[in-house]
Amino acid sequence: MSVRSTVRALPTLFRVGFAEMVAYRAEMLVWVLATTMPLIMLALWSAVAHDAPVGRFDQQDFVAYFLATFIVRQLTGAWVAWQLSFEVRTGTLAMRLLRPVHPMVSYAVENLAAIPLRLVVALPVAVIALLLTGSSRLPHDPLLWVIFLVSLLGGWVITFLANAVIGTLALWTGSSVKVMDVWLALFMVFSGYLIPVELFPPVIRGVIEVLPFRYQIGFPVELLTRGLDRAAALRLLLAQWVWVGLFLLGFRIIWRRGLQRFAAYGG
């Protein structure tokens, strides 16, 4: 699998992935509707901030924060853990292994192919957010916008690789959906998805700084809504990409060892 042949295959893989998304658009819509949790949390936090602001957050800030959370979640989605777990159990992973492209590349492109359709949902939400809360919270420094785009990519890569690592565990246990459930529960609480990281007591905030979850969602959202300065943004970006590196390393080790155990049942 040379790099060149992989790169040449990318546009086709993307087209196939996109066609699949269009074919199952109803299913996609259900998925999007199922990620409305930020809107519920928005209602809750608005009620909390009804009489007086919470920390630096007034009701408007919560609107901006949670709508941004919804958008970032749409654009950083990955679900390889379930795919891998399923394909290991049914043995269809063998088909992917036979192709001259690394399975992770094909999974990654399939997951990314959902983004154009998800943008269709995310863009109107972005417009609504801007109309409701104005543009004063958005960063004015172009460098911060560059950092935001890089952080969005980093957030997606961490989500994807965490999925891939947990999905690969299925090679040992047969199914790793339960492990993914535990990961998701931690993600919900510590990523800033339900609670802005700033609102945690300082001790817990310190723990969250070193966990990977915040770099999946909270960090890009904070870049958009919190007015971080360059130094703080770059420091968090560095931490994010350290996690990208760690997950990449972890994945390589676990994938190599796991594949030796793979015995395509019934494939």
Binding site: E27, A34, L194
Partner: protein
């Protein structure tokens, strides 16, 4: 033999076969229990954070809101143990076209699919709910109101009926849009709003959660009943509401199976 007697026996047979099936996967029981306990505990974090910052939210104190969470946890346990397993199986039947075999049997199809699978060992959260209620009342330093508790038991029945009706309505959608195996996901994510007292939501959202997707009737009302502050009219409306939803879901189910075109043939 009367129709009720016949369905009761059928019910017993279905439960027995679920239990036998479940006993084959004993290790899953412990794992499921641990995972769902973990979910419940992490789901409490927002509650703690919110009340760490504020004494009351939308007129609810921490202890009172804990009662609502307790009701949510209990209903979630019922959903996981008695409703989800059967109805996920229906969606599967519809996609594969194997619903034919159910429809051919000489008994009501809705009854058959709804009782097809019980997984009571998934209901470890019933215990968590009891712990949360006890904790709330111990912290409040008073017992639950007695007439209120009687009302709460009645509301448990209506809430379960509502939950079941909503599930039937969701599953009916699977007849029209075939590849929806993530309906459970959608349902759970909407149901998640029931974790909070309905007063938290404002305007349109509160209206929707009271009348269209009656989450308020399932968790907020029973908690208010336990506190002894649910008006009798609200109790009466809950019973009426559950009846209306039950009837509506039955109509929709009947018209949906009329649409069913077996995928296999």
């Amino acid at each position: 033999m009367s129709a009720i007697g016949r369905y009761w026996r059928l019910f017993e047979v279905q439960v027995r076969s679920s239990v036998l099936l479940g006993l084959q996967y004993r290790a899953d029981f412990i794992l499921d229990g641990v995972v769902s306990l973990f979910w419940t505990l992490t789901a409490l974090v927002p509650l703690f954070t919110v009340f760490h910052l504020r004494q009351t939210v939308a007129g609810w104190t921490f202890e009172e809101a804990l009662l609502v969470t307790g009701w949510f946890t209990l209903l979630e346990a019922i959903l996981e143990g008695a409703i989800n397993p059967s109805l996920t199986a229906v969606v599967d039947h519809i996609r594969k076209g194997t619903l034919d075999f159910v429809l051919l049997k000489p008994a009501d199809a809705q009854f058959l699919v709804s009782t097809a699978r019980f997984e009571p060992w998934r209901s470890t959260n019933v215990v968590t709910a009891l712990v949360l209620w006890t904790l709330a009342f111990v912290r409040m330093g008073r017992p639950p109101s007695l007439p209120g508790s009687v009302a709460a038991v009645l509301l448990l029945v209506t809430a379960t009926a509502l939950l079941y009706s909503l599930w039937i309505l969701t599953v009916s959608a699977a007849f029209y849009v075939v590849k929806i195996d993530n309906l459970t996901n959608l349902f759970n994510s909407i149901f998640d709003a029931a974790r909070w007292p309905v007063q938290v939501f404002r305007g349109l959202m509160r209206w929707v959660f009271t009348f269209i997707i009656p989450l308020a009737l399932m968790t907020t009302f029973p908690a208010e009943a336990m506190l002894g502050r649910l008006p009798l009219t609200a109790l009466a409306w809950s019973v009426v509401g559950a009846g209306v939803f039950g009837w509506l879901s039955r109509r929709v189910w009947l018209s949906s199976i009329a649409h069913y075109t077996s995928a296999s043939s």
